[in-house]
Amino acid sequence: MSRKFTPKVVTANDLREGCVIYMTETGSWSMHHHEAELIEDEAIAELRLLKALGQGDRIVGAYLADAKPGLKGPEPIHFREVFRTRGPSNYAHGKQEAANV
């Protein structure tokens, strides 16, 4: 019996700015994790990742990250992905910066 598939989101960094982005259901990119498409099927996840990797003129470093459903939308599971949704802990930079919220 195969292991249960952990749902995924496709995440990457913006090629020009470097900021963390997530792929939405329409295939566009969002700054917010909760706007990402939560992919519950392994085969579809691989296809979505291929689609992302095909957008090398916009994004860099795409990969699949574990996620779970939440109130507003998908939420990260691993602490590394939690940090990526907000920025570093020593300054209010990155996504937690007022201008980016």
Partner: protein
């Protein structure tokens, strides 16, 4: 200090123009990321967690005041107003946009700086003693040799695709403030009779397989340095493993083949290539040495300084902690701590950089150094000027008198920035510093080196910390291993793991237990933590760390 030759200038400008074109081709889709990655890495551009990161070389940690001002300008114009000084004496900018990086590289070239070979499997920035050229205890200034190595290794055709990165450190002092035993090649300037030469060490390194470098040559004549280095790196280039990234560093090559076999191969290659070095390198070195001639030291009396020590207790504490002996009697070496309690180790704001540049111009003959312990050094200051410098540092919040104390922590960026990290390092350092300050124990504990890495790669040098902290990911939770008894100096040692790791919020209490045990068992106030450890071994500290948990079980 070294000034670029026309050759250096043309080389750096050419590389800047090439990189600009490479970025343009990446952005217009002509280059894929796979094609672009090695090109950006050759110019110090990484992709980190939240953004790109640009690592700029500070050759052998030496900066002129105008260069420091340019770093401040870059931090303010293209980043978030600060830069991060690293354990390899470089500076990293954490937030540049890819589209801005060509302009940053041009701005660096304007002040004879660059980001070349700060990444990739090449010979990296040569590091040295931050007190080089000023220390009272050195045989000779190691920086001219470091510059010679920079010129030899930059764009060296044979060494652009080594099995793995290659780091060289050089010290002019037996005190070793450059951690030479933890480098791929360590060089120590030594004297045999009247002749100056090198003790050569090879195969040290930290990371997942920490090793201290053994000596491959007790005495290498000065003129043999470049052919001997070339022989070492060539031998490694052929013998080093390329099948496994984790076994590719020279420490593994030396370890697996044995030092004697490796040495024999190096000596054979050395004998072969030595005749080709006609002595031109020694002429170049002589020219470089002339550029590193010491400044014309002021002949000011020290009475005012001595009087200030008597009447100003704040100044006295700072002087005791942050000054080191200069080779000229009426001068001192000033370490400016940029680690105010709670600050991020290694970070300096643009304002702080500018103030330090101004102080260097007014009182320090225009020279600055970055230490591998992530502080800024004014290497030459007349003692008569120290009270004035201290007053200005005090006004700017830069007079923290904690050099060598528990809050003077080395920490890598960890998972707050680094894509390789497995846990955070910065907030652990911040909390240790503020916690022991709040307890009022910092001075009581005295000299101690705490070093923190956020992953096994050990950029935070945790293996050679008196207390080392290694952040790991244990089943999706941050977990911290503690090592004890490491040392980075002449008595270099790899710390040993104390036992099971601690959760994020258990680390600071664990460190406190270790240090309360130290305070209870030290022979007297003069015996430092590491001396107590060497006398008694790890047992009493392990007992303090784990007995409580055992009793509760």
């Amino acid at each position: 200090m070294y000034n670029y030759s026309d050759f250096d200038e043309a080389f750096v400008r050419t590389r800047a123009a090439q990189f600009r074109a490479q970025v343009e081709r990446r952005l217009d889709g002509s280059l894929t990321e796979d094609e672009f990655r090695p090109l950006r890495l050759m110019n110090g551009v990484y992709l980190q967690l939240h953004a790109y990161m640009l690592r700029v070389a500070i050759p052998y940690g030496t900066l002129r005041a105008d260069q420091m001002r340019q770093l401040a300008h870059i931090a303010e114009t293209y980043d978030k107003g600060y830069g991060h000084f690293t354990t390899r004496q470089n500076i990293q900018f954490n937030w540049p946009k890819l589209t801005d990086i060509p302009d940053i590289i041009d701005a660096l070239a304007d002040v004879q700086m660059h980001a070349i070979q700060t990444s990739g499997n090449t010979i990296r920035n040569v590091t040295t003693d931050a007190f080089a050229g000023a220390a009272a205890d050195e045989v000779a200034d190691p920086r001219p040799v470091a510059e010679l190595i920079r010129q030899w290794s930059t764009d060296h055709a044979e060494f652009q695709f080594l099995p793995r990165k290659f780091k060289i450190a050089i010290t002019g002092s037996a005190e070793d403030r450059a951690v030479i035993r933890a480098h791929d090649v360590g060089l120590e300037l030594v004297k045999r009779g009247d002749e100056i030469g090198f003790k050569v060490l090879v195969g040290g390194g930290l990371g997942r397989t920490p090793m201290l470098a053994p000596v491959i040559r007790e005495f290498l004549p000065k003129a043999d340095l470049l052919p001997y280095l070339e022989a070492i790196v060539s031998t490694y280039n052929l013998m080093g493993r390329r099948d496994n990234k984790y076994k590719a560093r020279i420490k593994i090559t030396v370890f697996e083949n044995g030092l004697d076999t490796f040495r024999a191969a190096v000596e054979e290659e050395f004998a072969r290539i030595r005749p080709a070095f006609s002595g031109v390198d020694q002429d170049v070195l002589a020219g470089i040495e002339a550029q590193f001639a010491p400044p014309a030291f002021k002949n000011t009396p020290v009475e005012f300084y001595e009087k200030s020590l008597e009447v100003d207790p704040l100044f006295k504490t700072w002087a005791k902690q942050n000054l080191a002996a200069h080779k000229v009697e009426n001068h001192a070496i000033v370490t400016v701590s940029i680690k105010e309690h709670g600050a991020t180790p290694g970070d300096a704001s643009a304002d702080q950089m500018r103030l330090l540049a101004d102080l260097a111009d007014r009182y320090g003959y225009g020279e600055l150094r970055i230490s591998h312990e992530q502080n800024v050094v004014l290497p030459h200051v007349a003692k008569a000027d120290l009270p004035a410098i201290h007053a200005e540092l005090l006004r700017a919040g830069l007079a923290t008198a904690n050099v060598g104390l528990i809050s003077d922590i080395i920490a890598c960026p960890g998972m707050d920035y680094c894509a390789l990290a497995t846990a955070r390092a910065i907030p652990v350092a911040q909390e240790i510093a503020t916690h022991f300050k709040a307890l009022g124990l910092e001075e009581e504990i005295g000299g101690i080196k705490i070093k923190i890495s956020g992953c096994i790669n050990a950029c935070g040098h945790h293996h050679v910390g008196h207390i080392g902290i290694l952040g790991l990911d244990r089943a999706g939770v941050e977990n911290y291993q503690i090592t004890l008894g490491g040392d980075a100096g002449p008595l270099a040692a790899i710390g040993e793991r104390a036992g099971p790791g601690f959760a994020y919020d258990e680390v600071v209490p664990a460190i406190e237990r270790i240090l309360r045990a130290y305070l209870a068992i030290r022979a007297d106030r003069e015996e430092t933590f590491i001396e107590t450890f060497r006398r008694l071994g790890p047992a009493p500290f392990k007992e303090a760390l784990y007995s409580e948990a055992r009793d509760a079980a």
